[in-house]
């Protein structure tokens, strides 16, 4: 296996010809990749397809309010942006797309059922991993495709539901970000300098999954020893106990999958309690999800964050302008810097829309759910984040980003510098192997 980041040229630096070839020259696919300027006038191959006139109805469930809306609203913006771009380009095979958004909190199953009752053609979301796990069998039973934005627990498709038809997940799963965190830590400190590590993770399946994978990874690569692992409540108001314990142990690396308000709280209380003097490095896969809520003094210190499958500065802008274009569009439209959760929404819609279009061009008519699901398997497509595939396991695979948390005066928000891009194959197991087995074989 390869550790360490791949070069930008490997992953994102891509020329026009390759792009057009890969996406099959479809106007929609190019538009969603953010490259409309690449389009040349040409005939629309789908003009003759037998497609109904009525618009596509779709539903997104996400966290629209309260503490988790830090992530959820980004996903909503992302999905809305993708839908807007689709409609600006004449829809999918001529069909406009409508998107309804509903709060997901505690109502995953009923939301999905309600969407199906309302006759939605496709549903997106949720953010919550437990909500996603709850929904998968229902999705299989109702047979209406759902592309989950997040809900990234690794075991979902590896163990719990290894054989699904209609349920997909766009965003990178936990193993990718936990291992990216491991490799980032090794790169910054060097394997020999990491003897001890600790974790502060939210107390639910996601946090436990991430910590478990990080532990396996860092122990395999460095032989480091865990000195403390705390699981504060999700959405807690106080983490001082855990920080005090970490300070007492002074580990080389602290790993935290805290997100949203928890991430801000960790950094606030970490600074206040001198945690960044006590430890050499904090790596947090989703700290950057709170980019718009962090202040300049909070990002000060040896703090590295992941940014899942999208960081707006990557692929670096001189070669790949779609990401930069997207940032300015989102800043103009919504007044925020898009984070990886923006891409969760954007990419989930894009995955489905490009697959739907591909299916129409293959079949010459609008596909049935089952046909569309078949096309989505092993489907490859571009977003401004670069190239993505949906694997045969229904999990989305794309590059994982990690970098040092810094401050950007230009955007008046947190930013990442020295971003490392980890190719999916370096941070996730090959098809058919579970993450735990794969890491165990290092």
């Amino acid at each position: 296996m390869t550790t360490g980041p791949t070069t930008a040229a490997d992953s994102g630096g891509i020329d026009r010809r390759t792009l057009l070839k890969t996406v099959g020259g479809s106007a929609l696919a190019v538009a969603l990749a953010g490259c409309t300027e690449l389009l040349e006038d040409g005939e629309d191959s789908l003009a003759d397809a037998d497609v109904p006139d009525e618009p596509i109805e779709s539903g997104l469930q996400t966290f629209t309010e309260g503490a988790p809306s830090v992530l959820g609203v980004q996903a909503q913006y992302g999905a809305e942006t993708a839908v807007r771009r689709i409609n600006e380009n004449g829809g999918i095979a001529g069909r406009e797309m409508n998107l309804d958004v509903v709060e997901e909190g505690g109502a995953y199953l009923t939301n999905y059922q309600q969407f199906v009752d309302e006759g939605k053609d496709v549903t997106f979301g949720p953010i919550s991993s437990s909500g996603h796990a709850e929904m998968v069998p229902e999705i299989e039973a109702q047979e209406v495709i759902n592309v989950s934005t997040d809900g990234t627990v690794t075991t979902l498709y590896e163990e719990d539901f290894p054989d699904v038809t209609y349920s997909f997940r766009f965003q990178n799963h936990d193993v990718m970000e936990a291992l990216a965190a491991v490799m980032q830590a090794v790169e910054v400190l060097g394997a020999d300098s990491i003897d001890t590590y600790a974790g502060i993770n939210p107390n639910y399946a996601f946090g436990q999954d991430e910590m478990d994978l990080f532990s396996r990874g860092i122990e395999a690569l460095t032989g480091a020893e865990e000195v403390y692992s705390g699981f504060p409540d999700l959405g807690t108001g106080d983490m001082s106990t855990h920080i005090t314990e970490v300070n007492g142990e002074a580990p080389d690396v602290v790993f935290s999958s805290c997100w949203g308000g928890d991430a801000t709280l960790l950094l606030e209380q970490g600074h206040a309690n001198g945690m960044f003097d006590a430890v050499d490095l904090l790596v947090g896969p989703v700290l950057y999800g709170s980019a718009n809520d962090l202040s300049e003094d909070l990002v000060d210190g040896p703090i590295y964050s992941g940014s899942r499958n999208f960081y707006w500065g990557e692929p670096s802008t001189d070669q790949w302008s779609p990401a930069a274009d997207l940032v300015s569009e989102v800043e103009d439209e919504y007044g925020v810097v898009p984070t990886a959760h923006f891409m969760s929404g954007y990419g989930a819609v894009t995955a489905w829309a490009t697959a739907a279009e591909k299916a129409v061009s293959l079949l010459g008519r609008w596909p049935e759910q089952e046909e569309l699901a078949t096309v989505l398997e092993n489907h490859g497509f571009f977003t401004p984040a670069g190239y993505h595939t949906i694997g045969a396991d229904h999990q989305g695979y794309s590059n994982a980003h990690f970098g040092e948390l810094t401050w950007s005066d230009d955007h008046d928000a947190a930013a990442l510098s020295d971003v490392n891009v980890f190719a999916a194959k370096n941070v996730s197991p090959p098809p058919g192997e579970t993450s735990a087995d794969w890491i165990g074989s290092w």
Binding site: S69, G237, H271
Partner: protein, 306 residues
């Protein structure tokens, strides 16, 4: 260990500020106010607007002296934010709570739950659905406190503990030493009595509810200027914890709420590192224990057990 105890005192102080209002309202009005957590959240949101505004009016702190000035400005802003709760609390009492004093407690629960839901959406309407942060936490931590005695601990936590004690002292003084406070206490014991001495019970009740709301809001402001943000739904878990505190301390007892809050705060913080799986359960186990051994609570006087 000392730091864990301090963490517990800090946590307990916040708990006390919220629970104090709840216990006063219950003690005098006999209402278990389920909307109390939303009053707390409202205080947090008001602090975002008001503290955010006043802190913007003063220069960012540069030295020890200016940090103290900055701290005082933030404190004044927090008090102003909590003061918003005075008319809000008073109006809520007058419009919604007053008609149901003589009704079964189940109606009181249902009505205050209805208020909880409405208040949530009022805040959603005013401040939007996403969390908001005042962003003065790190500046407050610049205020020199424990460094003066050669020990490093966040100044914000120290100040919260001090303010918690001050709130308790003020409330104790108010109810023990002032005429209004004594009349309120007399009203709590016997509603006819205050009517007999020519005091309007209505006005007393409104005052008490407003004071209770004020301290809930002040607690919210204290949290909001701290490391956390103000967000919708932030009141729920604190509401449930406030129950725990006032039951442990004895319903209606101010001293009980103070001791109960510190007990819950310190025990949960000290236990967590050793038995992490108990972090959530400790307060409730404590409550069950107290209720079974001493159902009227530590300082309660009127446990109605046969």
């Amino acid at each position: 260990m000392l730091e864990h105890v301090l963490n517990g005192l800090y946590y307990g102080s916040i708990l006390f500020m919220i629970a104090s209002g709840m216990t006063i309202i219950f003690g005098v009005l006999g209402i278990l106010n389920l909307a109390h957590g939303e009053l707390y959240a409202l205080g947090a949101f008001c602090a975002f607007s008001i503290v955010g505004f006043v802190a913007g009016q003063v220069a960012a702190p540069t030295g020890p002296a200016t940090t103290i000035v900055f701290g005082l400005v933030v404190l004044a802003g927090s008090l102003a934010a909590a003061a918003v709760l005075l008319p809000v609390g008073g109006a809520l009492e007058a419009a919604f709570i007053r008609p149901i004093y003589d009704r079964d407690e189940v109606y009181q629960l249902l009505l205050t739950y209805g208020l909880l839901l409405v208040l949530t959406d009022v805040m959603k309407f005013v401040w939007g659905p996403s969390p908001v942060d005042v962003g003065v936490f790190s500046a407050i931590n610049e205020i020199p406190t424990t460094e003066l005695v050669g020990f490093s601990y966040p100044s914000y936590n120290v100040l919260v503990i001090l303010i918690g004690v001050a709130v308790f002292a003020w409330l104790a003084w108010f109810f023990d030493r002032t005429k209004t406070g004594r009349i309120v206490r007399a009203t709590a014991i016997n509603r006819e009595m205050s009517t007999a001495i020519g005091v309007s019970t209505d006005r007393m009740f409104t005052l008490v509810f407003a004071i209770g709301a004020f301290f809930a809001g002040f607690g919210g402001a204290m949290v909001s200027i701290g490391p956390s943000s103000a967000s919708l739904g932030m009141g729920l878990s604190w509401l449930v914890l406030s129950f725990v505190v006032i039951v442990i301390g004895g319903l209606g007892s101010l001293k009980g709420a103070f001791v109960g809050a510190l007990l819950v705060g310190v025990s949960s913080r000290v236990v967590t590192p050793y038995y992490p799986q108990l972090e959530l359960a400790v307060p409730f186990l404590l409550m069950v224990l107290v209720l079974l051994v001493r159902p009227e609570g530590l300082y309660g006087t009127w446990g109605e057990i046969q």
